[in-house]
Amino acid sequence: MTGYLKDVFTNTGNISLFTGRFFKAVFKQPFELKEFAKQCYLLGYKALPLVGITGFIMGLVLTLQSRPTLVTFGAEAWLPGMVALSLIKEVAPIITALICAGKISSGIGAELGSMKVTEQIDAMEVSAINPFKYLVVTRILATTLMVPLLVVFADCIGVFGGYVGMNIHSDINVFRYLNKILESLTFLDIMPATIKTIFFGFFIGMIGCYKGFTAANGTESVGKAANSAVVAASLTIFIIDMMAVQLTDILFKP
């Protein structure tokens, strides 16, 4: 038990130091803009189909599942607004972030882990290239930027999925559908939900990089790095979500 607790504290301490190292490095030249753009493409753009399909299905399913209950109360007109609210405030950010934890965080963990094991990171170091700036900073910045964009994308596709779901049982005009949604959404529904995704993105990148960059020697540690990156990133996403929702509740209580 003491050993386990020691591990938890050591890991927390090390991640904090790693985060500190990131903030120290991020403002220092050289800025690896080319690598940052490449990572945005690889980590963000390449996740578009997966996020898009999931977003569409979420919107569609949420509409179909909620419909019978609302019909019972004769409140079918509330369906677009309700679906959009749940999508934008909770479902799309959480589902997208979890997908990114699975796809991006584990990918970064495995990539950097294998680079560590095969001494590629050391090779960079000895040729006087700062591997932390080149590999870690660029990836964390890329996920911090791309995850929120992916969430916004999932929001839009989800709303479209909801529209398709509505049209299975009833015939509703697209403008009327969007109008219904805009009537029920406020700025305070969208902003806090989007801001929290910046933190999701940051930690997805941070945890993947930390696990990969600090992988032990041996090929087994590559798998471990990828696996523990997904577990830790997913858990962190839920914890951040809980904190963000409580904070929003305190700050913007109606």
Partner: protein, 256 residues
């Protein structure tokens, strides 16, 4: 000459380009790997380091480039104690040292060309594309692997990877090259080719080298002097011919 602007002006005032004095390295509290290694390498010399696996040979050269931190002792390279340098100063020294890793450590996601361009472009931003291309071709040509320029590292054999690794090291025109088991895992013919390449690089570029190896054929061919590491200290040193005559049982076991 391309990287001339990067070179720091200090040239060693004494004849030793590498001067290691009382180097200690511990892993954990009890695991003392190096217990006071003292070693000097002259300019232009090829020094071979022999020793059992796990005796700390690789650790010694990793300490020399700052990949591992020494626990005690001084590590002078070009008359500068690298244990006293900050990150920027250390990087300036690192540019003058080439390091060939045991598994070549080629960047998997890049082609051979990109592997070679990567360090060059980052340290010499004024170079035009033509100059970069010719430097890449020249480095690959010097290891006899120009035809592999657009291949991915995964398409290369072990010997080819070693050659590309060497070309990537050479492209920055280092004054010192550290070889970490350059012939391990290769067949005898390829091993000999790599050993000959090491020798020709030293003769052509007048580089100083430390070669860590278990391959006695490589040691015989490349080494001007051989040091043997045992129990964390330098146990013996001499030329191949001298050590070959040594009666010590442990030394004999390497040569038989």
């Amino acid at each position: 000459m391309i990287l001339q602007e990067l070179k720091i002006s200090d040239t060693p005032t004494n004849q030793f380009v590498i001067d290691i004095n009382g180097l200690w390295k511990l892993f954990g509290k009890d695991n003392e790997v190096l217990k006071g290694v003292t070693l000097q390498v002259k300019t232009g010399e090829n020094l071979v380091m022999l020793g059992k696996s796990g005796s700390g040979k690789s650790i010694t050269i990793k300490c020399l480039v700052g990949l591992l931190l020494a626990d005690k002792g001084s590590l002078k390279v070009f008359d500068t104690d690298i244990t006293q340098l900050d990150y920027t100063q250390l990087n300036k020294i690192r540019l003058r040292i080439g390091f060939l890793f045991q598994n070549s450590a080629l960047y998997d996601s890049m082609t051979v060309r990109q592997n070679l361009e990567f360090p060059l472009k980052r340290h010499s931003k004024k170079l035009t594309d033509t100059e970069v291309n010719s430097a890449v071709s020249e480095a690959l040509d010097s290891v006899g692997l120009l035809e592999a320029i657009d291949k991915m590292p995964s398409e290369l054999s072990g010997g080819m990877r070693k050659r590309v690794g060497l070309a990537r090291t050479l492209i920055l025109k280092p004054e010192i090259i550290l070889y970490d088991e350059p012939t391990t895992g290769l067949d005898p013919i390829t091993s000999r080719e790599i050993s000959e390449l090491i020798l020709s690089i030293q003769q052509k570029n007048k580089t100083t080298s430390i070669i860590i190896t278990h391959d006695m054929a490589c040691a015989k061919l490349t080494g001007d002097r051989i040091v043997m590491l045992r129990d964390g200290v330098i146990y013996l040193e001499g030329t191949y011919a001298e050590l070959e005559q040594n009666k010590d049982e442990w030394v004999r076991s390497f040569f038989e």
